[in-house]
Assembly symmetry: none
Homo-oligomer: 417 residues x 2
């Protein structure tokens, strides 16, 4: 199906914000077999948005528009769509009630401007938005389907999953079966090299890779007239992929490193604590992102300063002095200290140089020691490993946290499953 | 001047890569007083690139194209430009020598494919690329100027600075000055209502709002023939904005809540610790996102389980039993317990129901108690506040963490500055 992705917002044309929405939507469209014809970004100008919609609807069978659904005067996508369709804006009483309810739950009265968000062109449908106050809009323009979603990425993503993807799946005559294999620990080019000719674009099922926050996801897409053939061919390709990149595979269900680790802990009935220096809470944050994490993570310590490493986790000041905070000995003492001060089974520690300052020739920015301590019959044992992560502060911290959780996952694999 | 930014590449339309180039170029154009009409992204298809160039050249006086200048068969921007201009591709001997020289410096022979990079449409000029093998192209189409740059961000940026900006500065009659005012604690519609007629689109300077992660940013853009007038009018509008939304203003430099709080702590010489339950490390993570955070944050505790709330922070088990973990009393004990166990000036605590499970009629999902404890001559004082945050687990945790940091910022405002 021919598709076009439009985004609107002065902040995008002014270069104050990078348009990440269009790439995200493209990824979803491609996963359903539709590579867009083009992306176009226009400013907060009703005439520009309207002509971009008209132009796109003439060339494509599906147009996805993001942005400009807020409550303020510079949110013009509703009126632009109305102009493109040649319809007046009308009030949707149901949508108005939902927006009022959203504010009521927050203990506030709906400001009068938000009434504008319940307006839509006559003959179109409003799409409830459980994540915010801006409902989406579903419309038709001749033979073209138009979806309009808010520009806030979290809301846009939720609404694509709720409305766009199910609609797309209904359009295809072919049966589609997809799988995502999560890998961690190898770069995209290493994974691509290992997959080799499986990634040939003419192949069915197709095999592609995408990177999300350090994880390389291998996406497999099998499209056949027969549903059972689509499923069987998918399974065959997943097995081939596993054979090629097995050593890095985290999940065959597309789950992230932290999700997978959380599930393993749950099924093993094991619990953890964290002891973080350079990651500053990110390891615990990633683990507690997962609903139900309270059953597997007791809590943790953030010991950014050496003083707190000593007073909270009992790291020996002489060890700190002679090895420095970024060292195997300190990573080990942190993990063991955390285990000792809790009643859980595992403790994970991080200590490193996240930058931009603080690097030295021996310990350049990006150097991180990670420790995993395990309670055992004989007390506890700890294993540490030194890593070097490239990139800026944010990337180094993200990689360090994810690698710490992955090291824990590797330890859990040693448990009798 | 009317400008358009085009980018090409299947990886962009496939959603495998986010187009950061267009935002970067926009930022440069805006700094020279030219907000683009639109951004457009097309795939690696010569006809699509050619028609995008033709369409843009009809509407604008300047078109900047990125991508498709590599040596391989899917690099088609040279032939597309030739088609748009109706000119044949010809070899530039000088450019060829430079590409050969680039490889020689790396100790390698130029592969034969790279000869294609020395081809350009007759009547256009090649722009030497000191950062890579792909020279840029400068062309005219009727009254429109066209610059073509490679898609690699580092090379594109270098070439924009070397060729595009100097050319732009020669063209401009108007001067542009911009400012960003960060607010927190009020929704976009409340801010817009307070700004009122300042947001009228015909106004100069213009005033607009955007939302990033809970913060509403007010953006001001002043454009005048005289540089000093542009600056003075900008300052006058910033003052007006401050007068209208002052109670929510976090930063006049566009800085985030955590950045601003970090800077305030630094300049006051104060330090903090965190005691987190429902945010699971996110408050500490947000604070330590800021480079140099080690001077203001000692560390913290993540006390997800009640057991750890008791054993690590000394929360009274009877208080937990009678009030529940999500209560004012527990938020207060957590903050005070954290302050007691450290030597810093402030402690921030969070305890709430992030969902999706765990809600009750009295404490629905989204209920969060936040405490801020301050060391004082008489020991310590603590203030707590109950919040209700809408949205899913991720949004509730993000809002809770950001609001906790903002409550700390409000406390810091009481310090003698």
């Amino acid at each position: 199906m021919k598709t076009v992705i439009l985004s609107s917002g002065d902040e995008l044309l002014l270069g104050q914000k990078v348009d990440t929405n269009s790439a995200w939507i493209s990824d979803q469209l491609v996963a359903c077999g539709n590579m867009p014809l083009y992306h176009k970004t226009v400013g907060d100008c009703s005439a520009d948005i309207a002509s971009a919609i008209t132009e796109a609807a003439e060339r494509a069978q599906l147009v996805v528009v993001t942005g400009g659904l807020g409550p303020t005067d510079d949110d013009l996508t509703r009126s632009a769509l109305a102009a493109a369709l040649g319809q007046p804006l009308v009030l949707d009483e149901g949508a108005l009630k939902e927006i009022q309810e959203f504010f009521r739950k927050m203990g506030r009265e709906m400001p009068v401007q938000n009434r504008a968000q319940a307006m839509h062109p006559a003959g179109t449908r409003m799409l409830p938005n459980p994540w915010g106050t801006a409902p989406g809009i579903e419309a038709e323009c001749h033979s073209c389907k138009i979806f309009v979603f808010p520009g806030v990425p979290r809301e846009m993503q939720g609404m694509c999953e709720k409305y766009l993807i199910p609609w797309l799946k209904l359009q295809s005559a072919l049966h589609l079966a997809t799988a995502s294999v999560t890998t961690y620990g190898a770069g995209e080019s290493t994974i691509a090299a290992a997959l080799g000719e499986l990634m040939c674009r003419e192949r069915n099922p197709t095999v592609g890779t995408t990177v999300t926050g350090g994880e390389v996801i291998v996406r497999i897409r099998s499209e056949f007239a027969d549903r059972e053939v689509a499923k069987a061919e998918l399974a065959r390709t997943v097995a081939l992929v596993q054979g090629r990149v097995g050593e890095w595979v985290v999940s065959l269900e597309g789950a992230s490193v932290s999700e997978t680790t959380c599930r393993m802990l749950l099924s093993l009935g094991k619990r953890i604590v964290t002891a973080e220096s350079c990651t500053g809470g990110l390891v615990a944050k990633m683990m507690t992102d997962i609903p139900g994490a309270s059953d597997v993570i007791g809590g943790g310590w953030i010991v950014y300063s050496n003083k707190l490493k000593e007073s909270l986790l009992g790291v020996n000041p002489l060890v700190l002095l002679s090895n420095g905070a970024v060292s195997e000995a300190v990573a080990a003492e942190m993990a063991l200290g955390a285990l000792l001060r809790s009643d859980v089974d595992y403790a994970v520690s991080t200590t490193g140089v996240a930058g931009p300052g603080g690097g030295s020739p021996e310990k350049p920015v990006g150097t991180v020691w990670i420790g995993v301590a395990v309670r055992s019959d004989a007390g506890a044992r700890v294993s540490c490993r030194k890593w070097y992560f490239p990139g800026d502060r944010e990337m180094i911290r993200m990689r360090a946290a994810k690698t710490a959780i992955n090291m824990l996952r590797m330890e859990l694999l040693k448990e009798p499953q």
